[in-house]
Symmetry: D2
């Protein structure tokens, strides 16, 4: 019967956005089935994403009272009467995109632009500004619309291991992977990834999984660069000099270049570029200052003619906190002339998680992928306010935090 619930209390704990740089753990009403296609998931892990910090810092339209959290996994608690492929007790991970499965965009595989679920736009997401009326999963329970379409089944049960690996299937692993897809990474490819946060590292990791020959990762934080090195990528510290020149130099002295035929010295860079930073990029010369197009400018220089650039770092059409009037409206000074002369392709957008999550899950199951190397902290829900603050400051090695709503605070 639609709407019926068991003996669970109708009050649960959840992380609620209050105001810029302030979130709280509060009691909120339990989610309920609202349609026959809905399911309710008992959350076992919910991640804090870099893009949650855009909201946290007040860099998006206001969302006071919103329950946060779009990286979610757990166990099915209840299913609507129309749901046929999952049942109570199934372990599932849920894409950050809420999508219907049958609109023009979903049926072409663009679940990142569902036309059905969000009355005010063409994206749906959990606990996110402008992404529709969906509460987030940094909470004990979550309502998931179109459960058959949006839940990816997982083997085992909570505690069987891989919990952290599987959690990353909700967003950052597919998002890093999508960067490699947009950038056209093929076996033998040369790749530059700007940004060694969770998405950048998993983009580099995905490039390795896809058989790239050389993967450069550009950042300025030593711990992140060390992780890039651990997975077989080549770290580039941009505080040591123009990262584009560093890559040119490295490539000109490797055996690879020795193998080139005349003319190929005109292609000193890489064929595939990935922007895993987005609009909050900093000026390399004056790191205290934002320079939103710093990464794209570098990418247009380092990606060889006829190459491709995948942009998975976020750029906003409206950004009240931007450093200039133009940037407040999503307008940026951009080297379009070079983009054209170099015959580049620039592909952007949120990730259609469902296009990739199943295949990436199977790599985790087969033991061929372990994306959880990026996770630094696993904490009870009660510690969320503190974790947000530390993650926002990148203090104490808070590189990626996941919350466990079923665990009591110490």
């Amino acid at each position: 019967m639609v709407g019926a619930r068991d003996a669970r209390t109708p009050i649960m704990k959840a992380v609620v956005y209050k105001s810029p740089c302030r979130v709280e753990v509060q009691d909120v009403t339990d989610p309920r089935l609202e349609a026959p296609t809905d399911v309710i998931v008992k959350i076992t892990t919910s991640g804090i994403c870099g893009s949650d910090l855009h909201m946290y810092e007040g860099r998006t339209p206001s969302m006071e009272g919103m329950v946060l959290g779009h990286e979610n996994m757990g166990v099915i608690e209840e299913v609507g009467t129309a749901v046929v492929s999952i049942k109570k007790g199934d372990r599932v991970v849920i894409p950050f995109n809420v999508s219907c499965g049958f609109c023009f965009n979903c049926e072409r595989g663009f679940t990142n632009a569902c036309l059905t679920v969000n009355p005010e736009g063409y994206h749906g997401g959990y606990g996110y500004a402008k992404m529709g009326p969906f509460r987030g999963g940094q909470a004990e329970y979550l309502r998931v619309p179109y459960g058959d379409f949006n839940c990816l089944k997982l083997p085992g049960k909570p505690g069987d291991g891989h919990e952290n690996d599987f959690l990353l299937l909700s967003d950052v692993f597919p998002t890093g992977y999508y960067g490699t897809e947009l950038a056209g990474v093929v076996p033998g490819a040369t790749v530059a990834v700007f940004g060694a946060g969770p998405v950048g590292l998993l983009a580099a990791y995905s490039a390795m999984l896809r058989g790239a020959a050389e993967v450069y990762v550009i950042d300025c934080v030593q711990a992140r660069l060390a992780k890039a090195s651990d997975i077989g990528a080549i770290p580039i510290d941009f505080t040591q000099g123009d990262p584009v020149e560093q890559i040119f130099e490295l490539r000109s002295t490797t055996a690879f270049v020795e193998a080139r035929r005349p003319g190929e010295e005109k292609m000193p860079g890489v064929m595939c570029g990935i922007d895993a930073v987005g609009y909050q990029a900093r000026d390399r010369e004056q790191p205290e200052k934002e320079r939103p197009t710093q990464v794209l400018e570098d990418l247009i220089r380092v990606v060889n003619p006829t190459g491709r650039i995948g942009v998975v770092g976020v750029y906003m059409p409206s950004d009240p906190g931007a450093p200039s009037d133009a940037a407040k409206h999503g307008q940026f000074q951009f080297p379009l002339g070079s983009l054209f002369e170099r015959e580049l392709r620039l592909s952007t957008g949120q990730t259609p998680v469902k296009r990739f999550n199943r295949f990436l899950r199977d790599l985790i199951i087969a033991g061929r992928a372990r994306p959880s190397f990026i996770i630094s902290h696993r904490l009870p829900l009660a510690e969320a306010p503190d974790a947000y603050q530390k993650f926002d400051r990148r203090s104490d090695g808070y590189t990626k935090v996941v919350l466990d709503p079923q665990r009591q605070a110490a």
Copy 2:
């Protein structure tokens, strides 16, 4: 024997660039075979391209003394000793790109970025600034490097008809077609083409050939819009109001939209956008003023989320005549935030003509394509200076001029 020549006189007529807004027909030395892979072509038709006007107006680095002309066809006059697939007397059309066929880019099909032929860059072209030491074909004869690779054989002989159709295989027909390729035009697609010059009209024509359902062509010149209408496209006159709003309005009242399911009203535009204008776009509000990103701004509004934009209009990394300092260096204010939010793909660059010219030739032979509808004038070489001037001013219906070097001036 390499280098041997018949009784032709070593002096020929050619169109030579002198200074901004001045070209002359002069006597120059005949071209000679310089390598065993070269061929010499007796030119029967050579077009004047919109991009020739960039040079003509002094909007490119100086090229005094250069013989112009990158849209060339004719009859093989002489072949080098290594040439095996064509022989004296063969009728051929030649891509504007000069390419080797064996470098990293050529072998992947990117003949628009040949690494071999141009010592100073990664593009080769005839009679064009920064495209290498290749004389153009607005002349009686032309040397073509790598003749086996660069000549496309044609049926019949000069005068058999189709001369003007086949000439367009050298550049603007494949370039218009490339716009549709970059924009992802498939059967049933909706398409907006900005600019109804030769490339824009042939982009619209190519979209029709590929089975597009609706093709909107945006311009302000009535004669051009009439041609768009003739080929089955829907003309949009931007002097009658914001062209993006006009397209939204037309689509919202057609039967197509009536068929939509809820949510699809969030996609009032088209899926495929083509920029056939480039950096000399004008401000729609103040048409006497250049506004280099006017077309791209409109495209980002009119192309639906998850759509694609193909840019075949030229943007220059260096433009001494640009309206602002930033634009002089190829930097433009650009709505990157919207591009990302709308999950668009932006693909740019010169056209790899060889990827398409053979298939388009076969459509002409089969009687299924007649691109010559865009040609307004066919003139003897001697009239080139006058033709350049009139074409530059778009006066007297000079929409597309081709030169016939074998015809005496009246």
Copy 3:
């Protein structure tokens, strides 16, 4: 409320399979909503398909009592409580495949292999042997599972015209189109289509829509070949000699071939081949005899090395009526050595209608496609038994029959 119905009588007329070569129009119970995602459609047109004849002739496992009809369109009569994108009164056309939209195959676009809907296999279809428990639509009403996913909205209302065009979106138009997709038809392509029945003609028509340069259609029935000619294809009558040799001959004398460079005479055939006949092909030498691989043998000869063959004609793994023991088990003598030596690709299978029906609908709406030229008869339901018999014998020009269940027999 799920299950509620209006005042319709619970008895309706439907075409029921009785025994080989016998169908009857009978009273059957009305369909009911069985799940919240179901819809009930009042059928305005239902086609008789060539593949219905496989059943009619007893060439499939027995299906006594089955209501036939997988080519269906009509008006929404009732929707389940989970349905959000369509409502009572909407005009819709329904793919012949029944599919869920969320299984591994559906989410990758293979709605032709849905894993959810048919308990006994990986295909779902209406009124078809082994395709699941779904009644067909040669009836007054039809239950459609997963209505949001399976209904394609149409403009207008019954009687507004295009009824016959839109009906063909349920199967044969997308199926013909799928043949061109599998065969890799691109603008400028050369194509050979074997069979000028409804699917073959619409494959040829689709090839033209996609911009093919030359489309050959092979059959022996003059009326069909005349239709091929009407749409711009080149008819080949195989009773006048080996059709492969006929195509070689035609191509060797056209202007196209004149344009070739040395070596290309080794490619006298076409690049794209389509089998629109299937396992009931006849021996060209002895047309009274079945020769199941006749068409594939010819295709392997006529398709040039590196070309592609799309097989949309049906081959059966089990065929009680086959001419040999091997063929009874779907085993056929096959020129695999030539297939390999010629480096061909052979792609097969039922059509995933949803991948194409929306785009093809838009071509009909835009006035760019009129597939109904293949329909010979539109008849009331009562005449179905007679129509089946005549269509099976191809008598009296019965090339394609559609039934109108809302029309009274004369």
Copy 4:
């Protein structure tokens, strides 16, 4: 000057085919430059390929007197006057396909079907039956036509290491890789490779490089299966039972399957199948008997509906030594009905080596690929007759032999 040579003696050693099961090392004339685009390569390594054994056993048209060897690498000894990208002393590896680079097939990337170089067919190859007038490279020197197009430059010099890895770029590494390309292997894919000879093992290795989740390798030789296991694949010994059932069983008990949603048990096999055996397949029940379609029958069973099969094992249109009359003419009994019902794609043909060799080279240089694990013996030219015999019998672990023409026999 074309044709000039240095002081090398005009006599060299080469492996010459004499009669079935007999090759000899003989003195033959040195190769000479025959065209300005030719180069002469001093061979440092030349492999013996499984397909050489087809000739060795007399299973191809007669080729008495032919110098064998299509897997070749070495150092440039001399270049023709038209050659620009390589020079004397360069280290290179050469694709087995001889191709021109400018015909219709080459320019589309199908160098496996060059129309120019072989007067009698549409394939060119070194030292191979029906592949044109090209001597093989199991010799001290080799003439390579179109040197700019056909030579892939390598770093280092002979003796620098990687000699055996790089040699495999001439054929079997790209061929194994091509199998994965035809089979559609993507990250997370499930793959079955039939045959664990050099091509099969390198197909499995390529599948791993491309990020496959599960790779099954089917053979009956323990040493080969052990190598499959070493590279992370799952060995299946078909002498232990029907390999298809073994794979179904393994997959049904892995965690992967546990993760499935209802319906997915209908897909117990893999999505990608590779035939690395070809027409000399043996009957699994009676291994002493050839059963040319054994592998394809198994593949059609084990590949899930909508999957793809890549055939890189050779099937011959004419095979004098075949076990049946039909097979002598390349005709085989084939489960076409199942192929269609399962909606499979079957892609065949020789490998276009150039499409892949550069990227695979870069993986070797980067230390990410070491294909030489398949090589069992490196021998001087003089031992070729003995090596052929042992390799043909697969005796003494002769799994893959390469010859070193610059090394004296012990």
